[in-house]
């Protein structure tokens, strides 16, 4: 972002994927740009930059948020988990396998956001129907797959985690 506060910088400290980080950052830098450019965590993608596409979805203090709608300085003192962190912890290993098996990605641009949102769905108490999955995922855009395969993959994992066979 360029603008009036370009030269103003602040030092922030936050935990990213479990690791304590202290960095100086321009006050108007978006969290997603901070994660990608300063920390090299390029798993989080930037699509629309106004909250609509979901490609930049990450977890802040246990809740999923759009990292394009937060400034890096607002994450000071927060616990941030990106798709790299979700991968390292093994929380979404089954989901990632299901995405591959169901062909739920083509170009892969939307995938990190899809995984982060799907992880949220699977951690919630919501009903496991396809309609519920579609509704929950409706804030994430995919320009390739047509969504069917993504819903298939999430449904597989929901069933497997509930101890049911996949159809």
């Amino acid at each position: 972002m360029t603008g009036p506060a370009d030269n103003v910088r602040l030092t922030i400290s936050l935990r990213v994927n479990g690791e304590l980080i202290e960095r100086e950052t321009p006050v108007r830098k978006n969290l997603v740009d901070f994660l990608r450019d300063d920390l090299g965590l390029t798993g989080t993608h930037v699509g629309c930059e106004h909250g609509v596409c979901g490609a930049c979805t990450i977890r802040v203090d246990g809740r999923s948020v759009r990292s394009c709608l937060m400034l890096a300085v607002q994450a000071d003192g927060c616990e941030v988990v990106t798709v790299e962190g979700l991968t390292a912890s093994g929380e979404i290993a089954d989901l990632q396998t299901a995405f591959v098996q169901r062909n739920a990605l083509q170009c892969g641009y939307c995938t990190p956001g899809m995984l982060a949102t799907a992880a949220d769905f699977l951690a919630s108490e919501r009903p496991r129907s396809r309609d519920a999955i579609r509704e929950f995922m409706s804030g994430n855009y995919c320009r390739c797959t047509g969504y069917q395969a993504i819903v298939d993959a999430i449904e597989d994992v929901a069933r497997a985690r509930a101890g049911q066979d996949t159809p």
């Binding site: 972002m1 603008g3 009036p4 506060a5 006050v27 108007r28 978006n30 930059e49 106004h50 909250g51 979901g54 979805t57 809740r63 999923s64 948020v65 759009r66 394009c68 709608l69 937060m70 400034l71 300085v73 607002q74 949102t117 949220d120 579609r134 509704e135 929950f136 409706s138 804030g139 994430n140």
Partner: protein, 248 residues
């Protein structure tokens, strides 16, 4: 943030109010429910106090955007932004909420009904901050409703309707109808309400309500929907919502 990202706005100073604790929280007071401006949608959605005393808001929240947006978006932000299609400001009008603003010369209270004055324009002066919203507690014996037409689940409404009627069998009683998405701000539909108040919900009354709505609404034209289309949808919505409310 979208306004900053799209360079629509580039203010010299930006104040982060996230850490002002007194702007947060849902409080069950004897005479009202107090909601701090920084209270997030997700907190409202998870609140038993809101479910019990401001049922209309509880019903509307699932219609607002998506989980990741509701995890960050606040009631104060929504009211101050004053998007004409937003559900929350319309529910505040329908629920007869009071909005508390603080400025250099102290606090003042504005009825939600008078708060939005134009497209993205509110009563709030540039040197004022929205502090809290006070909701009168819902009285028993009223039926609340909110519904909307949107292109996809979670999208802003093309036209929406929030409100309530008194529970009186098959007769419409004391309706309060607030349309959003149609005009440049939430509209309290006085004429349509007068046309149906105290009447049985017959085809003739339904027709009269539809016609009166033309006096209440002055729908916007946009790439998403023409004014005529919005007017038509508002009528369909009114008919459906009242029919459903009476059947409940």
């Amino acid at each position: 943030m979208p306004m900053l990202n799209m360079r629509v706005s580039s203010p010299a100073a930006l104040i982060d109010i996230n850490r002002i604790e007194t702007l947060r929280g849902i409080e069950d007071r004897p005479d009202c429910v107090r909601v701090g401006a920084m209270t997030r949608y997700v907190e409202l959605q998870e609140s038993a106090v809101i479910r019990a005393h401001v049922p209309l808001l509880a019903m509307a929240l699932p219609l607002v955007a998506h989980v990741a947006i509701r995890n960050r978006g606040t009631i104060g932000g929504s009211l101050c932004l004053s998007d004409p299609a937003a559900e929350t400001p319309a529910c505040c009008v329908a629920a007869q909420a009071q909005i508390v603003l603080a400025g250099p010369s102290g606090c003042r209270t504005v009825a939600a009904e008078d708060f939005a004055i134009g497209l993205y324009e509110t009563e709030r002066q540039p040197d004022e901050i929205l502090v809290e919203v006070l909701f009168p507690k819902a009285v028993s014996g009223r039926i609340f409703f909110v519904d909307e037409f949107s292109r996809r689940k979670g999208d802003f409404a093309i036209v929406g309707l929030a409100g309530s009627i008194r529970d009186k069998g098959s007769t419409v009683n004391d309706p309060r109808l607030v349309f959003f998405g149609s005009d440049n701000r939430p509209i309290l539909a006085h004429a349509a309400a007068a046309a149906i108040d105290g009447r049985p919900w017959s085809d003739a009354v339904r027709q009269a309500a539809s016609e009166s709505l033309d006096d209440d609404l002055d729908p916007m034209d946009s790439i998403h929907a023409s004014a005529n289309y919005r007017r038509r949808l508002a009528k369909v919505l009114l008919s459906r919502v009242i029919t459903r409310a009476l059947a409940s």
